[in-house]
């Protein structure tokens, strides 16, 4: 496994179609690390959910807007930061959601959405959020195996 620090940054339009490009870029960045798919998938999923939130809730699918994604690793962990200038994540959504494992799973009342934050927090080791004056930054950190 490469121990050298590596970085990569890309700028993407705030459209839902950018998610495919983002997933490909993540996997290209990780290719040199030779980590298993079982390690990659939760990070890919967390990143996809985070970017999807920026596009839909932060920018309301404004295709003229853009977000930036910065990938880095130092041989010990992979860090992915997303930068946007859209509507910030509400404060009550910045902590891991409380999931009741015994809550009833009645199909009629089952929501079609609302699982994104759970997948973000469970897919990586650390999530941090900074709301700046001009830019928001969401950072995902996942330790390498």
């Amino acid at each position: 496994m490469s121990q050298h620090h590596q970085e990569k940054e890309l700028r993407l339009p705030a459209t839902i179609n950018s998610l495919t490009t983002l997933g490909i870029a993540l996997r290209q960045f990780l290719a040199a690390l030779q980590v298993k798919e079982t390690w990659i998938y939760p990070l890919d999923l967390a990143l996809c959910e985070a970017a999807s939130n920026i596009i839909r809730h932060g920018y309301h699918n404004d295709a003229s807007a853009h977000y930036r994604v910065h990938f880095s690793h130092d041989g010990r962990a992979v860090t992915v930061s997303l930068f946007d200038s859209g509507v910030p994540v509400p404060e009550d959504k910045r902590q891991p959601p409380v999931i009741d494992p015994d809550a009833p799973l009645d199909l009629a009342s089952l929501s079609e959405g609302g699982r994104g934050m759970q997948l973000i927090f469970s897919g990586v080791d650390r999530v941090s959020y900074r709301q700046g004056e001009d830019e928001n930054q969401l950072t995902l950190i996942k330790a390498l195996p």
């Binding site: 950018s18 997933g23 999807s52 799973l105 079609e112 959405g113 997948l119």
Partner: protein, 114 residues
């Protein structure tokens, strides 16, 4: 959104031909399967053997499809890879959907439920 379909007895096997079933295609996926249901197919097996990745939008689409069939038919999922199965378990959707290892098991599940 390309779907391959195959009718076996009273069940329709539907295979999404896409590697990433994320939010960029989830709506088209839901619309394509909904169209199949509207054509009268109510015993459905969704075969995920060609899908490597799904996100929460796809889960939402699947919940919507299951609701649309509720009481009128069956939706069974098969051939999910280990990572997708883990996601179903994490979100407890493995307790909502019938998950089968392959087509044969899924068709048997449809037959049992008919």
């Amino acid at each position: 959104m390309k779907l391959e379909t195959e009718k076996i007895e009273n069940a329709l096997l539907v295979t999404p031909v896409v590697r990433r079933l994320d939010a960029s295609v989830a709506l088209r996926f839901k619309e394509a399967v909904t169209a199949v249901i509207q054509q009268g197919e109510t015993q459905l097996v969704l075969d995920f053997s060609r899908v490597d990745f799904i996100d929460s939008s796809c889960l939402g689409a699947l919940i919507s499809l299951l609701k649309s069939l509720s009481g009128k038919g069956q939706l069974v999922l098969c051939s999910l890879n280990g990572n997708i199965k883990a996601m179903f378990a994490l979100t407890r959707m493995d307790r909502v959907f019938t998950l089968c290892s392959d087509r044969s098991e899924a068709l048997a599940a449809i037959k049992r439920g008919s």
